[in-house]
């Protein structure tokens, strides 16, 4: 693509064109510092997005839309209450299917705890009913009340359902992360534009001399564009490295469910921040280019 070629050409560049713009002037140092700071922030926004994404994925898998009803009743009532529960479930909107676990399945569940050969029939083990809900889900409170009326021994255990709003929050958080990244990019563009404008204004005489000796506007613009693109990329590289180090040395508690411990990059995700200097360079490239041509058009 011609853009890639243009950026590449810019980087291996015309070092002479770069020298045409005096090195002094704080606009360049400002660019270096701001893009470093922005990249540092961007690393965290990126980490937050990725972590929130991971969390949302993990939790929504865990949701799996299933819950259990546990029926504890004297042996004689066990059978009728189980039927009653299944009956209620059948009439409950939002329930896709329901099924009582067989003795073998219950035994399988208990085996890890009590070992094989458990005499199930001799123990007052509650009967388990597995409920699969539809995507919309059922009304937990309503179901609980009807169960209490129809089968007093039945207890609805929907422990995974409380995560539903958390999954939503995680999804929202991921989106906020991406929005932050976009805002950081926009701020970088705005800052580079201001810095480039001030550099262009300060170097009006340089531009005039360049024009007098036959420099085309693209050549003059390129001198500024190259300067700012490289500075933004270098600054962002430094900021990215610092941000990645900061994330790498975050303390990592293993406590299940502690949200903050998930902040960071996992495996190949560590490659993601490496595109930040590239993005910063591209942003600066376009911002300076637009500012330069605007200025050059106005300077007659």
């Amino acid at each position: 693509m011609s853009l890639a070629r243009r950026v590449l050409g810019l980087l291996q560049g015309d070092a002479q064109a770069d020298r045409v713009v005096p090195k002094r002037g704080h606009s360049v140092r400002l660019t270096l510092f701001t893009s470093a700071a922005m990249a540092f922030l961007a690393v965290f926004a990126l980490a937050m997005s990725l972590a929130a994404g991971r969390l949302a994925d993990r939790w929504s898998e865990a949701l799996a839309r299933s819950s259990t009803i546990r029926i504890s009743a004297p042996a004689a009532e066990m059978e009728p209450q189980t039927w009653a529960v299944l009956e209620v479930l059948q009439q409950t909107p939002g329930v896709e299917s329901a099924r009582a676990l067989t003795d073998e399945e219950q035994q399988g569940l208990l085996e890890p705890w009590f070992g094989p050969g458990l005499p199930l029939e001799d123990l007052p083990i509650p009967r388990l009913v597995e409920v699969i809900e539809t995507a919309e889900g059922y009304d937990g409170e309503g179901l609980r009340q009807r169960l209490a009326a129809e089968a007093p021994g039945a207890v609805l255990d929907d422990h995974t359902r409380w995560r539903r709003p958390l999954v939503q929050a995680a999804g929202r958080l991921r989106m906020l992360g991406w929005i932050s990244l976009a805002l950081i990019a926009a701020s970088t563009a705005a800052m580079v534009t201001l810095a480039a404008q001030s550099a262009l204004a300060a170097n009006e005489r340089v531009i005039r001399v360049m024009r007098l000796i036959g420099a085309r506007d693209v050549y003059i613009a390129r001198a500024f564009v190259r300067r700012f693109t490289l500075r933004a990329a270098y600054g962002a590289a430094a900021g990215t490295v610092l941000g990645m180090i900061a994330i790498a040395i975050l303390p990592r508690a293993q406590t299940e469910g502690a949200f903050l411990t998930g902040l960071g990059f996992a495996g190949a995700e560590w490659l993601w921040p490496l595109i930040l200097p590239l993005l910063a360079g591209l942003t600066a490239f376009w911002a300076t280019r637009v500012a330069a041509f605007k200025r050059l058009r106005r300077m007659q």
Binding site: P22, M210, L212, A215, R216
Partner: protein, 236 residues
């Protein structure tokens, strides 16, 4: 001044009834001038007469307020920025105030027109050294423009004007601050270039320089007086 007086054929630069005034006034009126290829012109006139202004019209730093100026057959007021850049790459200009990039050493300033027109190369480095030696700046090539004397700057400006081997050379007081010996040397350079077919226009106060030149080439001498362009008489 009639066109016929300046010869026929295509003009490198041509002023057709061109006039110019700063801020609504009139400084120059009805200027007619054809710089035909290979011609050599001097431009004189009292200080403030408008010599620099006329040169600026010639390299399209100013566009005429009346009439028109053509550069390589293109009217200057119709040229795009790129057209203008290309035209200027074919011209070498010694500006009265030299116009250097003050942060670059003289040698880079002199080479800048090559870089800008992407004609730089290994062969040009030797050229550059020769040229700096010719104008007597070999020992000062790493100095910054503000560190040079007025005469050194003018010599550097002339070197920059000729480095690209341009078709036309416009020089505004190129010997203003230079001793007679060096002036003759620069004149020699201009005469050589003219013999190679370059079109040359030199604005100067220095009548002895003009006399020295007329001994070597057939140069026309123009004078700006009261806003008009005249052919100077035999009094020179």
């Amino acid at each position: 001044m009639t066109e016929a007086a300046f010869g026929r054929g295509r003009a490198v630069i041509e002023l057709k009834d061109a006039g110019y005034g700063y801020g609504g006034g009139t400084l120059l009126e009805e200027m007619n001038l054809r710089l035909t290829p290979g011609s050599f012109h001097f431009l004189t006139g009292p200080s403030g007469a408008g010599k620099t202004t006329l040169l600026k019209l010639c390299y399209a730093d100013l566009t005429p307020t009346s009439g028109e100026v053509t550069l390589f057959d293109q009217p200057s007021h119709q040229m795009s920025r790129d057209d203008l850049a290309h035209a200027r790459q074919r011209m070498g200009v010694v500006h009265q105030n030299c116009e250097f990039l003050d942060h670059l050493p003289i040698t880079e300033n002199v080479a800048l027109p090559l870089t800008v027109s992407r004609r730089g190369g290994p062969g040009e480095d030797a050229n550059l050294a020769d040229l700096l030696g010719w104008v007597g700046l070999a020992g000062r090539k790493n100095a910054l423009p503000p560190e040079l004397s007025g005469g050194e700057r003018q010599r550097a400006a002339l070197a920059r004007a000729v480095i690209t081997d341009p078709d036309v050379i416009l020089a505004d007081e190129p010997t203003g601050n230079i001793d007679w010996e060096m002036s003759l040397r620069l004149l020699q350079l201009l005469v050589e270039l003219n013999r190679m077919g370059k079109t040359i226009l030199v604005a100067t106060h220095d009548l002895s320089l003009i006399r020295a030149a007329k001994a070597q080439v057939s140069a026309r001498v123009l004078r700006i007086a009261k806003g008009r362009l005249q052919l100077a008489g035999a009094d020179l």
